[in-house]
Amino acid sequence: MLTLVGIVIVVIGFVLRINPLLVVTVAGLATGIAGGLDPLAVVAAFGKAFITSRYVAIVWLVLPVIGLLEHAGLKERARAVVAGLRAATTSRVLLVYFTIRQITAALGLTSLGGHAQMVRPLIAPMAEGAAENQYGELPEKVRHKIRAHAAAVDNIALFFGEDIFIAIGSILLIRGFLEQNGIRVEPTQLAIWAIPTAICAFVIHCTRLFLLDRSLRAELSRETDEA
């Protein structure tokens, strides 16, 4: 039971909004010590795990070029392109991106997206630009809401698209684990049984995106009434 102390620390830390880096470090050290390791061994295990997972930080290599392009007006251009399309609304921009992202992820093209490469410089400004087209200058709160939706679209379309591709990590993990337990399954079968959930995800989230325009309109007309 004592080994669960890390989970408790994480929950308390996030609730109290203490710096997450500190919370996670303390939780990790406490878990290791509760699990019977000596403190120096815990620090070493922590260091080793941090070093072996450096690959998750490689995405930051996109920052020099994205920063350069932003300085040259990339976001403003993305907004202007959408402003030229009279049919573009926030919902429609996000629906199109959701569809493309989910289909390409299902084909194994998971890197055709991402928060640093696509959402910040292109998708979020386009979704904001579409709303500006309709309603003019947006209040900060609405801007933030649209951006959060843009990030969510990238995640949801990716998660529930990629499992249809047979060579993705999660399918390989499932296959390896079941094989250790004496059950042989085919990757194609696993991929096929990911399709019903993928369809549900598409229907559920696209319905919510479809309703987003309406909620933005309500929110913005309320703002103008108050003003």
Binding site: T31, G32, L37, A45, F50, H144, F160
Partner: protein, 318 residues
Amino acid sequence: MITLEHIYWLAGLMMAGVAIVNARDASNPRRFNNTAFWGTYSLTFLAGSYLPDIVNGFLVIGMVLVASIRGLGQGKKESATREERETSARRWGNKLFIPALTIPLVTVLGTFIFKKITINGSPIVDLKQVTVISLAVATLIALGVGIAMLRPPLLAPIKEARRLLDAVGWAAVLPQMLAALGALFAIAGVGNVVSGLAARWIPLDNAFVVVVTYAVGMAIFTMIMGNAFAAFPVMTAGIGLPLIVHRFGGDPTIMAAIGMLSGFCGTLMTPMAANFNIVPTALLELPDENAVIKVQIPTALILLAANILLMNFLVFRH
């Protein structure tokens, strides 16, 4: 052969550049904290593979202390005014998209092409890491295209990288920290304790209850660990295989496929999945670090319910 190690050198150099630019920026009141933070991070990329684990551990703790005790600062925000950027956007037009779209396109092409290129029979890149290496190569090519097109001052790319990285701040390191936490959870056997508790407290003699326990357990355990991959072996060994498959005769393929996707519903709802949920709030400059999670929760809960129903109908069907 290009391996991950070479890419880490590149990342280390970039972080070192960010640290140096920070040190010289008097507009940031905490510039030396930033320098210490990114400088240490740079060291973990450049030398991490060669240093003893314990030294790496203390480097990480040092970064955490710098970030949490006195905190990181930011220099003055934008490098160009909105008017300047709009003028530039009009000048360049849609050409601005070329370098931006080079990144995903070259990454995807790279994953196919690098597998085919060999020198003296050995592959040109480490095939196990082909996606990450392709991404790194793609960013270099995109940067080359961007520089050729825009002809910025020599140091502009690293200054811009500094601006964006400082906007993200310590959140840039959080995904790695959480991966380290997951490793310690695994060493200490946290998973077995949790699935043991679930097995003891939940009535597991009804097939539907078992399906609900497995799917919801996947989601909750993924929320705790921040990663469905960590939850899957624990929940499947603890509940899925012994109960759904062996006792009630469920189909293991369908159970595993939908079980993993139930875990992904959990990923959408947890700050522990920092690279998906917390990093984008920093990147998009949202004041509420849970903003993305809040948007995702309704979809995640409805989809989790859909998964439970799907599994219940499909897994016992044959």
